[in-house]
C-alpha cells in the first residue's frame, strides 16, 4: 500500500513536550511519541511487547521509556529493553525491543510512516514554507480529504492533497476516532500574515461545512495489530553467527586523562544494538587482535558506543594499537554488546569502587542510576591526579570521592573505610586491577558484606554453574557436529557454527528457540516446556546436556 511508505504528520512538534509521552495515530495504529532530553524523537508502537500495555501510560525519564505495568525500561532511539525489574540480576536479551517507526521533524510537525519512505515529508523547501494553522475537524479523515479535495481542485488521492496550482499541500492527520487535523503548507507569496489569514478563513469555512454534513463516525476501538517488528532486527541469526558483525567508524577521539583516550564509535550503517550498563564489546584491532572494552554509554545514548582506553606500557598490542594506529574515520569490526556484568537495581543504595581505568563499566552504571534517581556513591582509586578520568562527569552525577596516590598500606586503610558495611543492604560494584579487586573483595567480606551483594566483572573462566560442562550437539539433518563449550549456550554454539536458530526471550520462557531432540539426555533449565515435551524437545537458549552428546533435529 502506497500510503504505508509515505510520511504522515502524527503530531505538532510543540505537542511532544519534554518528559511527556504523546499518544498519536498513524494509519489506525496507536503510537507513543516522545522526546528524550538530548532531543531524540521517538515514534513507537503504543504497546509494550511484554504484556501489551499502552506505552503512553508509561514514564519518559528523559532517556528511557518505562512501562507502567512491570517497569521494563526501553532506550530512546532503539526501543531496546535495558532492564527487567522482575529479574534484577539478568541482562535482558537483545531481541527484546518494541516496534519503532521512522521519524522526521519538519515544518513544525513530527512525521512518521509505517515503512521507511524513500523521500522527505514534503517537496516544499523547509526554509521557505509557510506552515498553516492546524485545523481540527470533527470528521473522519476520508471525509475531510474528499471535501478538501473538492475545494482545492485536487483529485482524491488518499490523505495527502496538493492544490491544483501547486502553491499548497495538505495532510490530513487522523487524531483519534472521528477526528482529523488538516495540516497545510504553502509557498509564501506577499505578506505572510495576510496569506495565513486567507488560508485560515478558507479552512475554517471548510471545517464548518464538513461538520454540518459529516455523517456520525462509528467509533472503532480496534487499532490495527502490528505484525512482527520491522527492519531493525538485532537478532538476525545470520549476523549473530559472526563474532564481530558490527562495523563502527571512529567519529571522535579525545584525551580524557593522562594516557587515556576516549573513542566515540558510530555505525557505518543501520542502528546499533542497545547496550545495557556494564556491557562490553569485542573490538577487532589493527594487527589482528581482538580486545574487550566496556561501554561508557549512559541510558538512551543509542546512536554511538563510547569506550575509554588507557595506554598500557606493558600492552601486548591492544591499547597501543588503539592509541597509535586508530584515527578518526577508521572503520573497526566489533561484536554486539555482551553484558556479563549486569547492574542490579534492587537495593536502596549502590556503592561503586573503581581502580584506575577499571572505572569504565561503573561510569555507565552510575549514569543509569543517576538518571533513575537511585542513590549511589562512587569511589575512584588512582596513582596520580592526572589519571582521574571523568572526574567532572562523575562529580555531577552524585557523591564522588577520588582517592589519589595511596601507598599500599594507605590504600588498604582507605578501602577499609570506603567498604564499611552499610546499615541497610546495598549492592557493591567493583572493577579494577586484579590486586585491588582481591583486596577489595577480602575487605568487603571481612566488613560483613554478604557475598551476594558484591559484584565484580567475571570473565569466561568464571561463568555461573548453570553453564558448566562441555558437550557436543550433532545435527541430524545438516550432518554437522558442533561443540558446546563450558559457559556457552547451545544457541550461541549453533549460531557460531552458522546454523540459524530463532530466539526471543533467551531465558527459556518463550519457546522460540525450542528444537527436537532425537538422542541424548537434555538437562532442562527452561520454564516453558511441559513434562511431555521435555521427553524430546530442548530450549537451546538455556538448557544443556547431561550426556556427552545430543542429537538435534536440525
Amino acid at each position: 500500500m502506497a500510503s504505508e511508505r509515505q510520511w504522515w504528520p502524527v503530531a505538532a512538534s510543540d505537542e511532544v513536550v519534554p518528559r511527556h509521552v504523546f499518544q498519536a495515530t498513524l494509519l489506525d495504529r496507536p503510537l507513543a511519541v516522545w522526546r528524550a532530553d538530548d532531543g531524540t524523537l521517538n515514534v513507537w508502537e503504543d504497546r509494550c511487547l511484554h504484556r501489551g500495555v499502552r506505552l503512553t501510560l508509561g514514564t519518559n525519564d528523559g532517556a528511557e521509556l518505562i512501562c507502567r505495568y512491570h517497569g521494563w525500561r526501553y532506550a530512546s532511539g532503539t526501543a531496546g529493553c535495558t532492564y527487567i525489574p522482575a529479574h534484577p540480576a539478568d541482562a535482558p536479551a537483545q531481541t527484546i525491543h518494541n516496534r519503532i517507526f521512522p521519524v522526521r521533524e519538519a515544518f513544525g510537525l513530527v512525521w512518521s510512516a509505517a515503512e521507511a519512505p524513500a523521500g522527505e515529508p514534503s517537496r516544499f523547501d523547509p526554509a521557505a514554507t509557510l506552515v498553516l494553522r492546524p485545523m481540527p475537524v470533527a470528521a473522519a479523515p476520508a471525509d475531510v480529504a474528499a471535501a478538501l479535495g473538492a475545494e482545492i481542485g485536487a483529485a482524491p488521492a488518499g490523505l495527502h492533497l496538493a492544490a491544483a496550482d501547486g502553491t499548497a499541500e495538505y495532510f490530513i492527520q487522523a487524531a483519534g476516532a472521528g477526528r482529523s487535523i488538516i495540516r497545510g503548507l504553502a509557498v509564501p507569496e506577499g505578506a505572510a500574515l495576510a496569506q495565513l489569514a486567507r488560508h485560515n478563513a478558507a479552512l475554517s469555512g471548510l471545517r464548518d461545512a464538513i461538520e454540518a454534513t459529516a455523517p456520525p463516525v462509528a467509533i472503532s476501538t480496534a487499532p490495527a495489530l502490528a505484525p512482527a517488528p520491522p527492519g531493525y532486527d538485532p537478532g538476525a541469526p545470520g549476523e549473530a553467527g559472526r563474532a564481530t558483525p558490527l562495523r563502527l567508524r571512529v567519529a571522535e577521539r579525545t584525551t580524557v586523562a593522562d594516557g587515556i583516550v576516549q573513542f566515540r564509535l558510530t555505525p557505518v550503517s543501520g542502528q546499533l544494538p542497545t547496550a545495557q550498563p556494564g556491557a562490553h564489546i569485542d573490538l577487532a584491532l589493527p594487527g589482528g587482535i581482538t580486545r574487550q572494552y566496556s561501554l561508557l554509554n549512559g541510558p538512551g545514548e543509542t546512536a554511538h558506543y563510547a569506550i575509554a582506553v588507557k595506554r598500557d606500557p606493558a600492552s601486548r598490542g591492544g591499547s597501543a594499537a588503539l592509541h597509535d594506529r586508530v584515527r578518526v574515520g577508521d572503520v573497526l569490526a566489533a561484536s554486539r554488546p555482551h553484558n556479563s556484568f549486569p547492574l542490579r537495581r534492587d537495593a536502596v543504595a549502590t556503592r561503586f569502587v573503581a581502580g584506575g581505568i577499571g572505572l569504565t563499566p561503573l561510569v555507565a552504571m552510575a549514569r543509569a542510576l543517576a538518571r533513575a534517581g537511585a542513590p549511589f556513591a562512587f569511589h575512584h582509586f588512582v596513582r596520580t591526579e592526572g589519571e582521574l578520568a571523568f572526574r567532572k562527569t562523575l562529580a555531577a552525577l552524585g557523591p564522588y570521592t577520588p582517592h589519589v596516590g595511596h601507598a599500599p598500606a594507605a590504600a588498604e586503610a582507605a578501602l577499609n573505610t570506603v567498604l564499611a558495611a552499610p546499615e541497610t543492604p546495598q549492592n557493591l560494584y567493583l572493577c579494577g586491577p586484579p590486586a585491588m579487586l582481591d583486596a577489595a573483595r577480602r575487605i568487603a567480606a571481612a566488613n560483613g558484606w554478604p557475598e551476594a551483594r558484591v559484584h565484580f566483572e567475571y570473565f569466561a573462566n568464571e561463568m555461573p554453574a548453570t553453564r558448566a560442562g562441555a558437550f557436543t550437539v550433532a545435527l541430524a539433518r545438516s550432518a554437522l557436529t558442533v561443540p558446546v563449550r563450558e559457559g556457552e549456550t547451545i544457541l550461541a554454539a549453533l549460531r557460531g557454527a552458522g546454523v540459524p536458530v530463532e530466539s526471543s526471550c533467551e531465558q527459556g520462557a518463550c519457546g522460540t528457540c525450542v528444537v527436537r531432540v532425537l538422542e541424548g539426555m537434555p538437562l532442562h533449565q527452561d520454564v516453558c516446556l511441559s513434562a511431555a515435551e521435555r521427553e524430546d524437545h530442548i530450549a537451546t537458549c538455556v538448557s544443556r546436556a547431561s550426556s556427552a552428546r545430543l542429537v538435534l533435529d536440525l
Binding site: H50, G71, L225
Partner: protein, 279 residues
C-alpha cells in the same frame, strides 16, 4: 465488538459462571446474553426467557447455559471464625483471561500497587513452583514470595510475604496469604470473573479473613483501592483477548504461571476471550 459465543466452546457448555453476589436481584449479561438474576437465586434469559441452570456457592449466584461441571470448592470458607465478605463488583473492559493473569502476576506489585503490595527497588520475582493438576483441572502456584514494604501493621521494615495461587476454573482464581493473626492459617482472596462479553467482564471479589480489627468498610475500601489501580492497566492492554501463542507476547521466567495458564486454556480448546494459537 463482542461476537456470539463460539458454538462448541467449553466455556459456553460446561461451566458455571458467576453472575451476581447472592441475594441480589439484577439485570446483567452473561457471555453476551442479557439475563435476569432474581433475589431467590434463579436466573433466566432477559425478557421472560428460558431459565438457566443456577446455583448458589461461595456467596454468589452462578449460572450456566449448558450442563456444567461441578463447581470448585474453597474449603476455608466453611470455617466458622472467619469474616467472609463480598468486597466489590467492578466492570472492566477486558477479557476474563486478562483479568485472571493480572491477578496471578506478582511482577507488577511495585509499579501498580506502589507502597501497598510492593515498592521499588524491591522488584525481584523470586523463583516459584507452578503446576497444572490435570485430574483436578486446576493450576496451583506455590512457594510464591514477594517483598512487601509494610508486611504487617506491627513491622517497621518490609518482609517477604508468602502466597499460594490457585486457578480452579478458567475465569476464577483464589489467593491464599498467611494470616497476620495465625500464621498457620490463610487469608483467602478470590476473584470470580463474570464474562459479560469476550472483551468485557465484571470482576467480583470475595474476601475471607481472620481479622478482628478492621470493619467491613475498611476491608472493602482496601481491596477496591487495589483493584482501581489495576483497572486502567487492564483496559489499556492490547489485544484485549488473551493471545495463547506463547510468542505473541514476551514472557519471562516470572511469568511462569501465565505460561501454564495459557497452555491450559489451549489444551482445553478454550476459545472465549482468547486468541487461539495460529488463529
Amino acid at each position: 465488538m463482542d461476537r456470539p459465543p463460539p458454538a462448541h466452546d467449553p466455556a459456553v457448555t460446561d461451566r458455571w459462571h458467576v453472575v451476581a453476589p447472592a441475594g441480589t436481584a439484577c439485570a446483567t449479561t452473561l457471555l453476551g446474553e442479557p439475563i435476569e438474576v432474581c433475589a431467590d437465586g434463579s436466573v433466566r434469559v432477559a425478557g421472560g426467557g428460558a431459565a438457566l441452570a443456577a446455583c448458589n456457592a461461595h456467596g454468589y449466584v452462578w449460572a450456566s447455559f449448558g450442563t456444567p461441571l461441578a463447581l470448585f470448592d474453597i474449603a476455608e470458607l466453611a470455617e466458622p471464625d472467619r469474616r467472609t465478605l463480598h468486597a466489590a463488583s467492578i466492570g472492566v473492559a477486558t477479557s476474563a483471561p486478562r483479568a485472571i493473569e493480572n491477578f496471578l502476576d506478582m511482577g507488577h506489585f511495585p509499579f501498580v500497587h506502589d507502597g501497598i503490595l510492593g515498592a521499588e527497588p524491591f522488584t525481584e520475582v523470586k523463583d516459584y513452583d507452578v503446576a497444572l493438576d490435570e485430574a483436578a483441572g486446576e493450576i496451583l502456584a506455590t512457594r510464591c514470595r514477594f517483598f512487601q514494604p509494610m508486611a504487617a501493621a506491627t513491622s517497621s521494615g518490609g518482609a517477604d510475604v508468602d502466597y499460594i495461587y490457585r486457578v480452579p476454573h478458567p475465569f476464577c482464581a483464589v489467593l491464599y496469604k498467611s494470616s497476620g493473626l495465625d500464621p498457620s492459617r490463610n487469608d483467602v482472596i478470590a476473584l470470580f470473573v463474570q464474562p459479560t462479553g469476550e472483551e468485557s467482564v465484571i470482576a467480583h471479589m470475595l474476601l475471607s479473613l481472620l481479622d478482628d480489627n478492621n470493619d467491613d468498610a475498611a476491608i472493602r475500601r482496601f481491596q477496591q483501592t487495589i483493584f482501581a489501580q489495576d483497572k486502567p492497566i487492564l483496559e489499556s492492554q492490547w489485544p484485549r483477548r488473551l493471545p495463547l501463542d506463547p510468542r505473541a507476547e514476551t514472557p519471562i521466567r516470572a511469568d511462569k504461571s501465565s505460561i501454564v495458564y495459557r497452555r491450559w486454556l489451549a489444551a482445553l480448546g478454550w476459545r472465549y476471550g482468547v486468541i487461539p494459537a495460529g488463529g
